[in-house]
């Protein structure tokens, strides 16, 4: 039985690529529930600042006067507390992880519509 098993795996290994080679080529598939990164639909955000108050690590900062919503990806622990707390439901939990960070910058989202209005008037 043991010899049979061994021959089977020898033949299998001869005709298939190594698992490591396969794994490096395969694209990482994210699960439906994976907590990847926080996404914001800035168009519907009212800049109330509740997410900033609730965030356990202080990764989010909201500027009401400039209509700016900022997040520090390196601080964010993707717990999803801001998503639960958002009254306008404009925050959501994305499935994909955020890309590699090159510097400790904040990711800034600005409401373009509000800014246009301000410059026009």
């Amino acid at each position: 039985m043991f010899a049979f098993n061994m021959t089977k795996s020898i033949f299998k290994n001869l005709f298939t690529k190594s698992p490591a080679a396969r794994a490096s080529l395969a694209k990482k598939e994210f699960k439906r529930n994976t907590r990847g990164k926080i996404d914001i639909n800035i168009e519907s955000c009212v800049f109330c600042g509740i997410c900033q108050k609730k965030c356990p690590t202080g990764a989010i900062s909201v500027n009401r006067t400039d209509k700016k919503w900022e997040i520090e990806r390196l601080k964010c622990i993707t717990c999803g507390y801001c998503v639960e707390a958002c009254p306008k439901k404009c925050l959501s939990m994305g499935n994909e992880y955020s890309g590699p960070a090159l510097s400790k910058d904040k990711e800034v989202f600005e409401n373009a519509r509000v800014l246009d209005n301000a410059t026009n008037s």
Partner: protein, 359 residues
Amino acid sequence: MSRRTIIPFGPQHPVLPEPIHLDLVMEDEKVVEAIPSIGFVHRGLEKLVEKKDFIEYIYVAERICGICSFMHGMGYSQAIEQIMNIEVPERALFLRTIWAEFSRIHSHLLWLGLLADAFGFESLFMQSWRVREKVLDIMEETTGGRVIFGSCKIGGVRKDIDTVTLKRIEKILVDLEKEIREIGNVFLNEYTVKSRLVGVGVLSREDAYNLGAVGPMMRASGIAQDMRKLGYGAYPQLDFEPITRTNGDSYDRCAVRIEELFQSIDLIRQAIGKIPEGPVDTKVTGNPDGEAFVRLEQPRGEVVYYVKASGTKFLDRLRVRTPTFANIPALLKMLKGCDYADVPILILTIDPCISCTER
């Protein structure tokens, strides 16, 4: 009498996943005494209750430990629920039990891998962690995180598992059981493994009792102490008996943990069979006022949560007594008189989680 030497062991050592320091007083190759010192990874998480409000603190509680993270969150929420008299829905209790048992499986598989690594059986280490990956995939699918689940909250759970997924988990469990049996056989019957484990670090029943050992350490010495029998979560409705062994050596501690893997799989099966329909959380209003004392069984043993609140949204005091801390006196007892080459294995058999211990 030969000359005594002191060999420092740790905080940085290839076998240690986390920093603990031991001064080993040696006589030739035998350890005469071990003097521990801890405190290398203290993070001050207990003090943080004064800065974070009691609902937010669950995120901190989950990060006390990276392996039994779910059960830390569960212990904390149970303590708050006890103070505030919150009735947790039945379905939430069952889901918590399922996730808790899954984290027990992944913790024990991780430990088996580390043990194999400690006695130099690298392929067994790889196989243990390969099986563990399947459990982590289930976790990611159901909760969203691989080790920090973030699914427990005060008053229930955040995510529900639908019937289709539960059925699929049941199917995966069949495969998992087969693979764990294969690995377990190597640990329990292989000649080389046995020669490193049998009769090493014997902890007698009296010593285990007197030194206050917990969890698999105590059960391997023949004392059937299991906090799950206290009846938290959905455990009162599930049928199980604590697993005990009598010899109290490293081999028995390994065997207890392997049998607990099968017990956890059985418990998950039972829970999936009995899970009722209904809501998964209740609304929490007001602030906690009072004290609570909660004990639950983690993969490493009994954890104690003490919470004191004074009617504001910030808690007064939180104290966590983790299983590794309770097991250190027993470890020192075992180290006395052992060979220097067995020290790494003895440290690993208590399943040390130093970040937990120092918080």
